[in-house]
Subunit: 234 residues, 2 copies
DNA sequence: CGACCGATTGAAGGTCGTCAAACTACGTGG
DNA sequence: CCACGTAGTTTGACGACCTTCAATCGGTCG
């Protein structure tokens, strides 16, 4: 379960100004000239499912941008319980709290194959104070993370199990832009919803029998949005 | 239930540099000269229990500092369910999202008598870009709000009801610096914990019978920290 | 093939939600 | 001063839902 943490396939120094997901990334608003001020290397790498990007308490000198795949932020309780408090996807930044010189607050674990960029803290810190555009982006990220957190509490941790699962599926579908999406393990879904793995399995199995949840290519699924929406109101 | 929102006892223009809780407030790091740059009036006012500071969707041109009392941030679901996603106390800032020109994301309601300062957005915005100290404070607040949100999800929305109530009580006591603290209504506690008012009442009543929760002066209570801590581990 | 991991299913028991009633504290008005 | 109304708390009975424990199944990888 516990991985030694980050040390994986290196993919070479990234060229941010030619980045394919630049419009989503932290540096989306930077002007061309701003990139000349980046001296420190930004490299691309990837993680396999289950590998840790960092652990709670770590003080790595980087933040990370998710290029593809899903990262779960996990928080543990002294008694062994744990919850997934947030899921990061394409364009999100992992390790924002490091910008304040605080140790990481969660374990960050890959939910499937994940591609990332490592951005040295120094790069962000120097750019932040000079370029209002980056600055605005950072605030924006913070804002979004907080709004997400509230949504999770309100929508995904409230009501009976079937309702929560339905909301989670609708959420993932919406985040994928309405397309087929990656269905997490039952254990992970349970940890997001505050219910057991078994309960999650029973509900998803029922949804499949009803035809409201169908598997598509690979680990992807598709849902009957209308049917599941019904479950969220009652 | 629904209050017309903010319009109450005005207490006069506040003098921030002489503020009694300045060390806790948003402007704590500002130098004396910075205060001369504040032209817009900052006024003090208060709310009674149940009154709204603002509602979801509002676009008031202010943020607010809590001088005393407790403010709950409430989020509603289409089906009528709702959760309290955070509680603001002395020194906290309400309406941070307004700094990004976003409408308020919650209903902000006084849990008891609350004293506040209204800070016009303009004041914060102009100071923010010039003074790194205020800037750091803002990031700091954001960070804390996010950490709080995660804690609530992990500790207060996980496990059986008695465990959650125990954790909530310990939380409130810790936030009060170990002193006697204000015990919210059962309904509010339930809305924080994701359980019903009745369940909350049954648990707190049992705690009282056990002597783990005793009422002190007025609406205040005191707890047996050791006993309640036991409940959080099992 | 055999081991392992995750998903599924079932049975049993406990917890919690629902519904309803009684009780307390408090403020209003007769 | 007391009656009454209101709002919040407590309590109980009952049933639904969820957790727990355990077994089985399916697929993947060595």
């Amino acid at each position: 379960m516990k991985q030694p943490a980050i040390d994986t396939a290196w993919r070479g120094v990234a060229r941010c100004d030619a980045c394919a997901i630049r419009h989503l990334a932290l540096f989306s608003d930077l002007a061309h000239e701003d990139f000349h001020r980046i001296h420190l290397p930004i490299d691309e790498f990837s993680l396999e499912r289950g590998q840790a990007l960092y652990h709670r308490g770590d003080t790595v000198a980087s933040v990370f941008t998710v290029r593809s795949g899903l990262i779960k932020l996990v928080q543990h309780l002294p008694n062994g319980d744990f919850r997934i408090v947030r899921v990061l996807r394409q364009g999100d930044v992992a390790g924002l709290e490091r910008l304040n010189d605080r140790p990481a607050e969660h374990d960050a674990i890959a939910m499937d194959r994940v591609e990332l960029c490592r951005i040295p803290l120094g790069v962000v810190q120097t750019l932040r104070d000079d370029t209002p555009r980056l600055h605005r982006q950072l605030i924006e990220r913070w804002q979004r993370a907080l709004a997400d957190a509230d949504t999770w509490l309100t929508e995904l941790s409230t009501g009976p199990a079937r309702t929560r699962v339905a909301r989670l599926l609708l959420h993932f579908e919406a985040a994928a832009g309405g397309a087929d999406f990656f269905l997490p393990t039952r254990e992970d879904m349970g940890a997001m919803l505050g219910i057991t793995t078994e309960s999650t399995s029973k509900v998803t199995a029922e949804f499949k029998r009803q035809g409201w949840l169908q598997s598509a290519e690979g680990p992807f699924v598709r849902i009957d949005r209308a049917a599941l929406s019904q479950l969220t109101v009652r």
